[in-house]
Symmetry: C2
């Protein structure tokens, strides 16, 4: 039952509360984040132990929210350990001889969301929830539906009513309850916050958010391990909701802190596709 996961702490005021399905500081309304016993992790974790673990993100279990502790069940569809491809020809065109691309499209439900949802669903089941849910515009709905099917839990996915049908088709395979909401994604999200309180469901990206967000750290862990336990000089990631960049940077810091890699400043850059780039446009 060894676990290195300690508390939820406010990123603003530092107030700590016990682990649970909470996401807002009761003192100052700041966001809550998982804390770990890094000294204990440093003593226990090693490159060899990780190498002997499963070929999924749970090989980094010591560095993930793990309420039940070693040996307790996790909800794992086989997420993570996705290929890091040496893009030799693209690299040559750009003048980079060590350009790598992480193909996270080959996760079980075909997006990086599986990392977050695997961690959040594992926590939700441990807290006794029988239903997981989310506000989504597509990828997250797929992932929640897939993880609920694996865990034998109920799934409710809330989507904007005008979402393209193709985006929800992959979710439908797992037969979740799909709730189409009149309004945009922000409206859906606000409704879900109310529903989470009212129905006592585990919304992976709302009341389980502190657990959910930690999943993205595993992108950094995997890249470092694939590079022979070394951090890259630079990491370019999609902006997504903004949290991805923060968690990737935290992932590399974690590895230094527990002695798995040498200290190194990693430049983490956010990018957006030209066809949908509000943040990049605003930044310019």
């Amino acid at each position: 039952m060894t676990t290195y996961t300690r508390t939820l702490a406010c990123r603003i005021c530092g107030a700590e509360i016990p682990l649970g399905p909470s996401y807002v500081c009761e003192e100052c309304f700041g966001p809550l984040e998982i804390t770990y016993d890094y000294d204990a992790i440093r003593r226990e974790v090693s490159r060899e132990r990780i190498a002997r673990g499963p070929r999924t993100l749970w090989r980094y279990r010591a560095l993930l929210p793990d309420i039940g502790g070693a040996g307790s069940p996790v909800v794992d569809l086989g997420t993570g350990c996705t290929p890091l491809i040496h893009a030799e020809r693209l690299g040559a065109a750009l003048g980079l001889n060590r350009l790598y691309i992480k193909n996270d499209a080959v996760n079980p439900t075909y997006s990086f969301k599986d990392r977050a949802v695997s961690v959040a669903t594992t926590a939700a089941r441990h807290f006794g929830f029988d239903t997981i849910a989310c506000a989504s515009t597509g990828n997250l709905a797929n992932s929640v539906a897939g993880h609920a099917a694996k865990a034998g839990m109920k799934a409710f996915v809330f989507i904007p009513a005008d979402l393209e049908e193709a985006k929800i088709l992959a979710s439908s395979v797992y037969e979740p309850n799909v709730i189409a909401v009149e309004g945009n994604y922000d409206d859906v999200n606000r409704l879900c916050t109310l529903v989470a309180d009212e129905y006592g469901w585990a919304f992976v990206n709302i009341n389980l958010r502190p657990f959910y967000a930690e999943g993205a750290k595993t992108l950094a862990y995997e890249v470092a391990e694939e590079l022979g336990w070394e951090a890259p000089d630079a990491f370019v990631a999609p902006m997504a909701s903004g949290s991805l960049l923060v968690k990737i940077a935290k992932g590399f810091r974690d590895l230094v802190r527990v002695g798995l890699i040498e200290p190194k400043a990693v430049r983490v850059n956010g990018a957006q596709a030209a066809g949908c780039s509000p943040i990049a446009t605003a930044f310019r």
Copy 2:
């Protein structure tokens, strides 16, 4: 430069010719198939050596067409070693406690065709071709385009003119030359046979077919390795063009022949999706 690949032999009359871009027996017009020195493979190959190989289908290189031999370059996008998922809940519903699903949708261009095309493209480059090509209704075109991009070769993909746009979109990323042909897939295939002779291109599923077809054997190799070097009792595969079943069965026989698994009769069943099942319908 060790290689265990020997000749091309006719499946009908047994006539043998040297390795090359040939697919029809000059004696009897029967189909040609690769032959191997299985005794030499048996002496050299071991579970441990395979485990130390790359996490792609090329870990089974001794059992694949390998004209250049060990150390010579292969065209490898990172194909194979796809997850074998223990489908516990589906298995329980069907009364099977060891039901596994092989997810070959997470290959580099998202289908099992990458197995065949990786082997065929490697052979084509060795034979001195600068262009690979195919007749395709979608998946194969994606794979040929992707492998050409990786290998720095030209790609020509021939498709029926009425193919859905979504099917060709993934190929277009790699900027192949796309030739839309008025007619159905059989018409496209006939045209390609003429083009292969006329232009001297490597059509992966025509003049490189003996090499191409061997790629599918790796599905059997991977399943056996994942099960702890044991063949399954039964294997259900898509009918596809018919060759897939044959090569999967050959894959398990290969493993027995070189001493990697114990002899076992594997029942290989072909299946078709209910929405498009001409063979299943005709069989009934």
